[in-house]
Point group: C2
Chain length 231, copies 2
DNA sequence: CGCGAGATTGATGGTAATCAACGAACGTGG
DNA sequence: CCACGTTCGTTGATTACCATCAATCTCGCG
């Protein structure tokens, strides 16, 4: 692992307060692996053997059921996934696949559970991280149950614009089909939703989306911090 | 508080492993309050001042947005709510209202956060409980994104039947409009979904629902432990 | 240049929300 | 005890939203 990667992981909210020894143990016990795009890293229903940290690349969390499948979230560097399954020693509820060439640190679940008992600061960080994930999931339920597809898209655009520097230009880092699944709609409907948003100042150029009138878009989206904020 | 109520709270997964002192502190610091039906206990957007424990009665967690509102969950005795907001000292994402005459123990948030630092067993239980809530929420996202309304209703019926003793008779403990909102549909659509389920062995008599052919219902519902199981 | 995957557009059907009316159940007050 | 009113649930008609199927288009790449 490159020193700057180790430093980035150390700076994660989950690890930043942990004792040096705890952090060292976890990272030393972990495997840093490289994967090409499109590789399935974990499968729902499998027992949770590793906590995963995306060091580089892009990972899609998805789930299947009733003959359909849906994207639950996109994990960027440096983010972790399936912490909850690891802690309670349960099976994964979601599957994960790489969207790009990626580098993933895999930490044995048992080590994480041990660290939880030996390092109170780490335990506190785990609580914070879990609570954050819990709240994110509740927000997603609200997003799905309270909004139409076009509203979800509008709010996603506004949020992503801010995340990318509020320049009014949003670059989609993955395929539109993935975005449509993340937003809970079909690719066809996403395409139509984009057409609708043209009248509200959204223009598409391939994977690049321009927001020319963010106020108009916000009027349509009606963003709500209790759904859209990351905190 | 009646001794049997205290004992029931003590037996909660969240408290059962805690030190006697921790538990005593939390309960002594708490207020046990009685509320008539229809009272709003907490409002989304308000800072999280108390951890709530439903000792008796029934509480609906709900949320608003985009001019609509939706039921997120129903909390029965003895269950807790808004643990995540309390731990991270944030605002509530959900509101709560009593559906029946209820008795609720309110524990000051600050005490909970302190106990987290002084009692490792309690901290471990909090982690387990949070992870459980997180996974429940992810399951609910899957339920919403992967299933139709009739499928959600069928699975709810099957699960509730088991919870009530697998007698094939399910008693709805609250209004149908609440159930419809919990399932993410309108009251009208719930009514129509029930009609559809008649052909699959479901008959309605007021608030009592009979499942006369659970196999047929299961064929329609296609229950999935990764969505429907409580664990 | 031609292929193929992804994206778009069109046509259609299904699922769900909305609006409106009616009916059943319950509680209250006469 | 009954009449009335309110609330909840159901049913019907209509509209909006979304999924599906099919065809075409775009673009990157061999």
């Amino acid at each position: 692992m490159r020193p700057e990667d180790a430093a980035a992981i150390r700076d994660l909210p989950l690890f930043s307060d942990a004792q040096e020894e705890t952090f060292g143990d976890l990272v030393r016990a972990g495997f840093l692996q490289r994967f090409p795009p499109g590789v399935v890293l974990i499968n729902e229903r499998d027992p949770a053997d590793f906590l995963h940290v995306v060091v580089e690349g892009l990972v899609e969390m998805f789930a299947t059921g009733s003959g359909r499948d849906t994207t639950i979230s996109i994990v960027r560097p440096v983010g972790t996934f399936i912490l909850a399954a690891v802690l309670n020693d349960q099976v994964y509820l979601q599957s994960a696949r790489t969207l790009e060439k990626s580098q993933v640190l895999m930490i044995p679940a048992e080590r994480v559970r041990v660290a939880l008992g030996t390092d109170p600061a780490f335990a506190r960080a785990v609580v914070t991280e879990l609570a954050r994930g819990y709240r994110r999931a509740i927000k997603e339920v609200k997003n799905q149950k309270l909004r139409t597809g076009a509203e979800r898209l509008s709010n996603w655009l506004l949020k992503e614009d801010v995340a990318q520097g509020a320049s009014g230009v949003v670059n989609l880092g993955f395929e539109k089909r993935v975005l449509s699944s993340l937003l809970g709609m079909t690719p066809e409907n996403l395409s139509r939703a984009f057409s609708t948003l043209r009248e509200h100042g959204v223009t598409i150029h391939g994977a690049q989306m321009r927001l020319t009138d963010r106020q108009a878009l916000a009027r349509l989206a009606q963003p709500d911090p209790l759904i859209d904020s990351d905190e």
